[in-house]
């Protein structure tokens, strides 16, 4: 098992050293040596002109189970409302289903869920709905048992869910029970129509590297998808579809975890995930008190306040405002970054915003690489002027 260099074929040319995204190959005594940190990604196999590198596998890709059909979207709810990520997944799911000539179904759990027919208007052919008081608190043990049961019964070939706190917590458990592959936090999904493979692309290494991943032999192919990367489509209220009400199966199902209390985060005046405009502050603000500048600008523009990880780490603003790889991914029409240098992990969470404005005193800050407009200057001078100018404009 593992990767091998055929020392007879290896010429020590070093092409593989250059190609390795993980930097684990070196030339030792004129031959390529691959260290144990190798992830077996296979990039070096393609660049080796001498066919000297190979990855041994015990038995490659057993035949796929062809009984699996259709694409499923897990449609998350909270307090009886669908989440916007549901519509985003349906928009992409519909395109993939059309390409594969497959059926698109939504699976929706919760209690007293409103607007279920919107799932059809947004592209679902079928909706499997379990609306039951037992599911009101979104307890993951219960979600797990119901979802696994439905998948085993109906055998979809692809299952996608939002990479939300709930999705990233319970979907891996579904995959573990089904002993199938799951790709986390994808930012793009395509399909290979011939092999009926879901091509799942996601950032790794804090957004430094993109990887495309497939699940060859096991079914269903499962992925969680980062919210805000796919755009939702306008609903078609004429679309026909079928809502299938499924009973909550109580048999042998109790939740081991119990929700005692929920404390809502009240610091966010406007939720950053839903905001059209976001004003984001970073380390350049210098101290917690200076966030009031961001709030003032946000108030004038009707915007939400975001932040870089640095500002959250300093304790200047709660985590719920953090934008980036380990925070929230946002895609507003306008993103204004103030005193944010633009670390890769921050860019991963905001670079798809329609228009990006960067205000920073360092002309070499990476944020200017992704920004639409840049102001090189002192934010303590620029932001108050901007607030003033916008106030004047409103009058």
């Amino acid at each position: 098992m593992g990767i091998r260099v055929d020392l007879d074929k290896c010429t020590g040319c070093g092409d593989c050293v250059q190609s390795c995204p993980f930097g684990v190959i070196e030339i030792v005594e004129g031959k390529a040596h691959i260290s144990e940190h190798c992830t077996l990604c296979g990039t070096c196999l393609d660049v080796c002109s001498y066919g000297a590198i190979s990855i041994e596998t015990a038995h490659e890709a057993a035949a796929t189970d062809d009984n699996h059909q259709g694409i499923w979207v897990f449609a998350e709810t909270r307090n009886g409302n669908l989440k916007s990520v549901d519509y985003e997944l349906l928009a992409r799911g519909r395109e993939l289903a059309n390409t594969l000539k497959a059926e698109l179904s939504a699976v929706c759990f919760g209690y007293q869920i409103s607007d279920v027919e919107q799932l059809i208007a947004h592209g679902a052919d079928k909706v499997y709905l379990i609306d039951d008081p037992a599911l009101a608190n979104h307890q993951e043990d219960l979600y797990l048992s119901q979802f696994t049961r439905l998948i085993k019964e109906h055998k979809p070939e692809i299952v996608i869910a939002g990479a939300t706190a709930l999705g990233r917590s319970f979907i891996p458990r579904v995959a573990a029970i089904l002993k199938t592959g799951l790709t986390a936090d994808c930012t793009d999904l395509e399909v290979d129509t011939e092999k009926r493979l879901l091509l799942q692309t996601r950032p790794t290494f804090g957004g430094n590297i993109m990887a495309t991943i497939v699940c060859q032999a096991k079914r269903p192919q499962m992925a969680t998808v980062r919210p805000r990367v796919f755009k939702k489509k306008a609903p078609d209220n004429e679309r026909m579809g079928q809502i299938i009400k499924v009973d909550f199966n109580k048999e042998g199902v109790t939740s081991r975890t119990r929700l005692l209390n929920f404390v809502e985060n009240l610091t966010e005046r406007v939720k950053i995930e839903d905001a059209d405009i976001i004003i984001s502050g970073g380390r350049g603000l210098g101290k917690a008190e200076n966030f009031h500048l961001m709030e003032e600008l946000a108030a004038v523009m009707g915007a939400a306040v975001g932040s870089s990880r640095a500002a959250v780490d300093e304790g200047w603003i709660p985590y719920s405002h953090q934008v980036g790889q380990t925070g929230k991914t946002v895609c507003p029409r306008l993103y204004i970054a103030c005193g944010i240098s633009g670390a890769v992990q921050h860019l991963a969470g905001m670079q798809t915003s329609d228009t990006i404005v960067a205000i920073n005193n360092d002309p070499n800050a990476p944020i200017f690489e992704v920004a639409t407009y840049g102001i090189v200057g002192d934010l303590f001078e620029v932001v108050p002027l901007l607030i003033e100018k916008l106030r004047d404009n409103l009058l």
Binding site: S169, M210, A211
Partner: protein, 261 residues
Amino acid sequence: MDIIVCLKQVPGTTQVKIDPQTNTLVRQGIKNITNPFDTYALEAAIRLKEQYGGKVTAISMGPPQADEMLREAISLGADEAILLSDRAFAGADTLATSYTLARAITKIEKYDLIICGRQTIDGDTGQVGPELAEMLSLPFVAYVSKIEEINNGQMRVQRMIEEGYEVIEAPLPAVISVVKEINVPRLPSLRGITRAKSAVIPAWGAKELDADQDRVGLAGSATRVIKIFFPQRGKRAEILQGSPQSQVASLVTKLRENGLI
């Protein structure tokens, strides 16, 4: 209270830059570190031991070099450490990794709580915690930001979700994943460093774990990476010139032209 902490050794990627000439990662000066999110898991375990007594065991699946990371865990306060290392484990995805960890934990036998970091900074999947819980048939709580109390075989924890936080109660044994808000990890003590030097860290391979060869490493992985590439960055910003006043004036004009204000 016996606690198992799952650790992973990762490249310290915060220093990683892309060389614009070759479009590859600049590798100089990249050291291997303990996955930062796992350091909070270890600290949480040590604090629980200090409060409730018991033992902390650190485990890691990785190459032989991960031994140095496990010694660091001992210097910080872990009582024991076990390295899961075997050529057969290479190329594992989260499914194969969680299976391997689950085999080791089953072999350890005695445990009340298993703590993982929310995700690693190299893979960023956050899937090993929940998959591990399922393979051990244990309750799981993700994104724990506070362990409020452990009493009568029950834990009460706070977990972060998008809208705020939840207070959740679950019976032990259980698996949790923790976020950085949970604590500030300590530094190693001198006594700890001495202890770490002489500690015996067993290395368990597939044989010791009595693991099914088809479920570990590349063979046990359901997913494969088929392509690796670097993210496309957009065009460089249009830098607005002039005095702060005129910079702001042209910004407002541009935003208005684009219908953004």
